[in-house]
Structures are given as structure tokens and as C-alpha cells.
């Protein structure tokens, strides 16, 4: 692992962390697809800014791109509120339109500017170390690392400073407004931050992979915890794992690093989805099985208790007739009844089942008497 590799890894990790932090707030607000809309729309801002300043290295490009991301979100809102088009359709309209405008402009400027649409989608993580920050003759690491590092730092500072109001707005914006915190201000603040994140990261990671990195780690984290602070920490952790894993796998297989990182984001998410302690598929499956068992016992008890003193008791509560009344296969009736007998919840007198006092209490609790 040489110096260039280390620098690339650094850029990948910083980019992933920046995306995870910015994306977490979008995911929490059910706005994951805004990441998609923003990342497609920034191209237009870059092209327009370039037409105005004619310099690819200019910070105006950054500003233009960020603004066009915010503009895209505003346009989506406008379509929703003023033109009566639903959110999903509004997004499906806005970003292709802005993207198309950008592609057309690029095709017209192709002879004078080297703006490669392919690079916008793919990113150029492998080449990031070729563009270092130089002061005099010494180089101080890749420019994108500095940019993303600053972004991460600013994000962390902002999140720390505004953690409480953000949490209140994100949890209940009506309440926030009632105590004098402007939800609008924070929403647009986060939108701008997300747009800036997309802009800073897409050069290295590519616009569509930014979406995976914004949504993936945060979604994984949400499977582990629902507390905002923990979600943020976990999202950063998962982003780092995905980036590192993706880097080494990509380098080993000699394929696109950013693509591999996105795949790893999905992989990490898949693992979380299966294995997370409470919300994971396996945990839920086990819980469901236990519940079904418990539920069937409860059902039997409730049934027995309902018909306890009724005249049809000899029909409804007979062991060999339960399969008809509960619509269960006989084997299931056997299992459930046996388990209930062992737990001393039911008694069996000559094939006629009845609740024990303990079973009666349980049935009472279940139906809420």
C-alpha cells in the first residue's frame, strides 16, 4: 500500500462520512430521493457557472452547483404546493429536466470545455491523488481530501451547535414552530448542506454513488437505533466500513473503486437488515415465531374461557373438535394443547379441555377484561 493508495483511501473515507452525515437527515425526513434529485441537478449549476466564469477550477462552480441543488428542491416543492403534482412525480420531473438541460448545454460547449458527463456519473476517485494542494513546491495531500475534510468538519460543528433544535424540528416540526424554532430555516439549511455535500463528493465518488452513500449508512444505522445521536455515530461508522471495504475489494479486483464502495454500502446494509438485534430479519423472525406460539396458546385459552360456562361447551371445548372450531389442523391442536397442559394453563378431563385458574387469568389479561 503506497502513498497514493493511502491518499485515495482517505478521500474515500472522508467522502463517505460527509455523505453519511448529510444523508442521515434526509433519510430521517423520508426525503431519501431528494438526494437523487439533488445529485442529478448539480450538473446544470456547474455548466451554467462555467459559462459565466469560464474556469473549471473556480469556486463559483461549487457555488453554482450547490445553488442548483437547492433550486431543484425548491422546484420540487413548487410543483407540489402550487402546481398540484405529487412529490414522487414532481421529483421524477425535475431532475431529468435539469439534467437534460445540462447535457444539452455540454453537448453545445463540447468543443470548448472538457466537462465529461461520464466522469460526473462515475467519479474519479482513482485520480484524486493526482490533484494535490501545493504551497510552493511541497504538496499537502489531495485537494478533494481537503475539501471533504473541511466539509466533514463544518458538518460536525453545525450538528453539534444545532443538535437540539434539529432534533426537535425533525421529530415534530409543528411543536418546533410553536416554541419559536423555524422549521423552514432548518429544513432549507439541511437541504443546502445536502446539496453542498453532493457537490463536494460527486467529483470523487460520482453523482449516483453519492445517493447510495447518503442513504445506505443512515438506513443501516436506523435498523440499530432510533436515537438521533446514535444514528449519526453509527451512520459514520458504517460509512467508514463500506468505504474501506470497497476500497480494498476494488483495488484487489482492479475495478471502479467508487462503484465497489456503493456495492459495499449495500452489502453492509444487507447484513444489518439481516442481523440487527431488534429490527433485523432474523431477530424478527425469531420473535414472530415466539409470538405465534404464545398467540396460539392465548387463542386456545380465550376460546376455552369464552365457552366455559356456555351450554355448547361440550362441543366447543372437546379436544377432538377443536380442529374444526379453530380451523387448525389436528397436529397443531395437539402441539398447542400439549404445551398448554405442560404449563398448567389448561386441564383435560375426559377429552374436555378447560382453563386452570392461571389460564383463566392469562385469557382475561389477553382480552383486556
Amino acid at each position: 500500500m503506497d502513498n497514493a493508495d493511502l491518499q485515495t483511501l482517505l478521500v474515500a473515507c472522508l467522502g463517505a462520512v460527509a455523505c453519511a452525515l448529510g444523508g442521515a437527515f434526509l433519510v430521517l425526513r423520508r426525503l431519501s430521493l431528494l438526494a437523487d434529485a439533488i445529485s442529478h441537478s448539480i450538473l446544470l449549476g456547474i455548466v451554467v457557472a462555467w459559462v459565466l466564469v469560464k474556469d473549471l477550477g473556480s469556486p463559483w462552480l461549487l457555488l453554482g452547483a450547490t445553488l442548483s441543488g437547492v433550486f431543484a428542491v425548491w422546484l420540487v416543492e413548487w410543483f407540489q404546493k402550487k402546481a398540484g403534482i405529487r412529490e414522487d412525480a414532481a421529483m421524477g420531473l425535475v431532475f431529468p429536466a435539469l439534467f437534460s438541460a445540462a447535457v444539452i448545454m455540454i453537448s453545445q460547449l463540447a468543443h470548448s470545455v472538457h466537462l465529461d458527463t461520464d466522469a460526473v456519473i462515475n467519479g474519479r476517485l482513482e485520480l484524486a491523488f493526482l490533484d494535490p494542494v501545493r504551497i510552493g513546491n511541497t504538496s499537502y495531500g489531495p485537494r478533494s481530501a481537503w475539501m471533504l475534510g473541511t466539509l466533514v468538519f463544518v458538518q460536525l460543528v453545525l450538528i453539534t451547535l444545532f443538535f437540539q433544535p434539529l432534533r426537535i424540528v425533525w421529530f415534530d416540526s409543528a411543536f418546533a414552530a410553536s416554541i419559536g424554532i423555524s422549521p423552514l430555516l432548518y429544513q432549507w439549511g439541511v437541504t443546502t448542506a445536502a446539496s453542498l455535500t453532493c457537490v463536494s463528493a460527486f467529483d470523487a465518488l460520482g453523482s449516483i454513488l453519492v445517493v447510495a452513500l447518503m442513504v445506505g449508512p443512515a438506513s443501516s444505522a436506523l435498523l440499530w437505533s432510533s436515537r438521533l445521536s446514535r444514528v449519526l455515530v453509527l451512520a459514520v461508522l458504517f460509512a467508514l466500513i463500506s468505504a474501506t471495504l470497497g476500497f480494498f475489494l476494488g483495488a484487489w479486483l482492479d475495478v471502479s473503486l467508487s462503484g465497489m464502495i456503493a456495492v459495499c454500502t449495500g452489502f453492509v446494509f444487507g447484513l444489518c437488515w439481516l442481523l440487527a438485534p431488534e429490527e433485523g430479519w432474523i431477530a424478527q423472525w425469531a420473535r414472530k415465531r415466539r409470538q405465534i406460539q404464545e398467540f396460539r396458546t392465548g387463542l386456545l385459552l380465550v376460546h376455552l374461557r369464552t365457552h366455559e360456562n356456555s351450554p355448547e361447551r361440550h362441543e366447543e371445548c372437546r379436544f377432538d373438535r377443536l380442529n374444526i372450531h379453530l380451523k387448525w389442523p389436528q397436529a397443531l391442536v395437539d402441539d398447542v394443547a400439549k404445551a398448554a397442559l405442560e404449563r398448567d394453563l389448561v386441564t383435560s378431563i375426559g377429552g374436555l379441555l378447560g382453563c386452570t385458574p392461571a389460564g383463566r387469568t392469562m385469557a382475561k389479561q389477553l382480552v383486556g377484561d
Binding site: K288, L299, V302, H303, T306, L326, K327, W328, L366, V367
Partner: protein, 249 residues
């Protein structure tokens, strides 16, 4: 001769993790109007949806006119809650009412003149024939409910299941719906209505079923709405509800 329109036996329904209905037994005789009452979350809508086959029960059976649901589907009309539908949908009043006829028609048969006549009659009965060509998103809440009712009328069913038809409708619509349901009953139909207004149960329905996850009581209204039953279903709220039932402030 089967005299039951609807027969629910030992029905248990679990929504995700929590049971919504526990071991419910309910018999609805033909030709009556039954109110299905109970507090929020008592499983009223769940019961109706299970009868319609929209939810699979965990245990128990449902029989409609003595047969399992699938075989008597065409004899049942279901009127969902008004809010369950996106009223922005591009359709006219007549379009929606006409949808009731598709259960009768084959795979891709277009509704013929007879069905159009049927639909026109149904709209007439709910007082919407003037608005037949109006887009549904221009309707008021009461008018939306009437369109749903017209759709159910077009189905020409024998058993009508209505989920909160009186919710958020104007007084005129309320009395219109009530008259309509009564005329359906006199024509031999059976009507089950999810209802939450205890005060009006006695005037409106022949029978009532009181639900609180399990069936608390069912039968003639006066036998169901006893103090003991209401206390069982509504718990602590019961005192104020009893006042409402008795019409004392």
C-alpha cells in the same frame, strides 16, 4: 333453509404482532340492520375487512349465506371508509358508480346499456343524478359517501357492509343514507354498519354488536347497550357514554 346472512365463528385476527380480534362469534340474521359498535381500535373495521376477505384470519371461519366468502362474493357489497381512497383520481361520479357493475361482468366485457341504466338508477337513488358527469374531486364529503353508496347499489348485493358511512357527512346525506339503507332492508337486504355514535344506535339499528377486540355482546340494541356491557367495552369512559345513551346531559 339458512336464515343467517353472516356467520362468524371463533374468528381471531392478528395484525402484525397484536391481535385485533379475539375469538369472535357473531351471527347476523337475514333482513336486519346491525350496528357494529365499540371504542377506537376495537376491531370493527378489521372484522368487516376479514369478512370481505381483505385480511386473512389467524383462526376461525366466516360464512356468508352459509358459504365460505369466495363463493358468495358477488352477493356482498363493501363500502370502505371514504378516506381510504384518493379522491383526486380522474373519474366522474358515474365512472365510480359504474365500477360496481364489474363484479357481474366477465373478464373484459364493457358495461352495456343495462348497466348504464342501473348506474343511472343508483345515482338517482342517492340524489346524485345531476352530478353524474362531475369529476369526483369536486365533491363534498357527503357526496363522496353517496357515490360509494351508489357503487354498492349497482352491485345489487344481498349483504351490505359499510365502514363508518356517517363519518363526516352533512345532515342531508346522513338522513338520505339512512332512508336508503332502510329501503334496502325492506327489500330483503341485510346491512351491517360500523358505527361509533352510541346516541343514535337505538333509532337506527335493529340489532347491535359491541366489540372490544372480542365480542362483548350482540343482539337487540336494548340488550346489548346495557350498563355492564358498556363498562366492559369502554372502561372508565363508560359513565359519560351512559349519559349519552340515556340522553341526559
Amino acid at each position: 333453509m339458512n336464515t343467517l346472512a353472516l356467520e362468524v365463528e371463533d374468528l381471531t385476527v392478528a395484525y402484525g404482532e397484536n391481535p385485533a380480534l379475539w375469538d369472535v362469534d357473531l351471527k347476523v340474521p337475514k333482513g336486519i340492520m346491525m350496528g357494529l359498535i365499540g371504542p377506537n381500535g376495537a376491531g370493527k373495521s378489521t372484522l368487516i375487512k376479514t369478512v370481505m376477505g381483505l385480511i386473512r384470519p389467524a383462526a376461525g371461519t366466516v360464512r356468508v349465506f352459509g358459504k365460505p366468502h369466495g363463493e358468495s362474493q358477488s352477493r356482498v357489497a363493501y363500502v370502505p371508509q371514504r378516506s381510504s381512497v384518493d379522491w383526486d383520481f380522474p373519474a366522474t361520479v358515474k365512472d365510480v358508480a359504474l365500477m360496481g357493475s364489474y363484479g357481474r361482468l366477465g373478464w373484459s366485457t364493457r358495461p352495456d346499456r343495462k348497466e348504464h341504466k342501473n348506474t343511472q338508477d343508483a345515482l338517482e337513488r342517492v340524489g346524485l343524478s345531476d352530478l353524474a358527469n362531475r369529476p369526483v374531486h369536486q365533491l363534498s364529503g357527503g357526496q363522496q359517501q353517496r357515490v360509494f353508496l351508489a357503487r354498492a347499489l349497482v352491485q345489487k348485493a344481498d349483504l351490505y357492509l359499510l365502514d363508518e358511512p356517517f363519518q363526516g357527512v352533512d345532515a342531508a346525506t346522513e338522513s338520505l343514507i339512512l332512508d336508503l339503507l332502510r329501503s334496502l332492508r325492506s327489500a330483503g337486504g341485510t346491512i351491517v354498519v360500523v358505527h361509533h355514535d352510541l346516541q343514535t344506535v337505538a333509532d337506527r339499528f335493529d340489532q347491535a354488536a359491541l366489540l372490544k377486540v372480542r365480542l362483548v355482546a350482540s343482539g337487540p340494541v336494548s340488550e346489548v347497550l346495557t350498563t355492564a356491557n358498556l363498562q366492559q367495552a369502554y372502561g372508565i369512559q363508560a359513565t359519560s357514554l351512559l349519559a349519552i345513551r340515556d340522553g341526559t346531559p
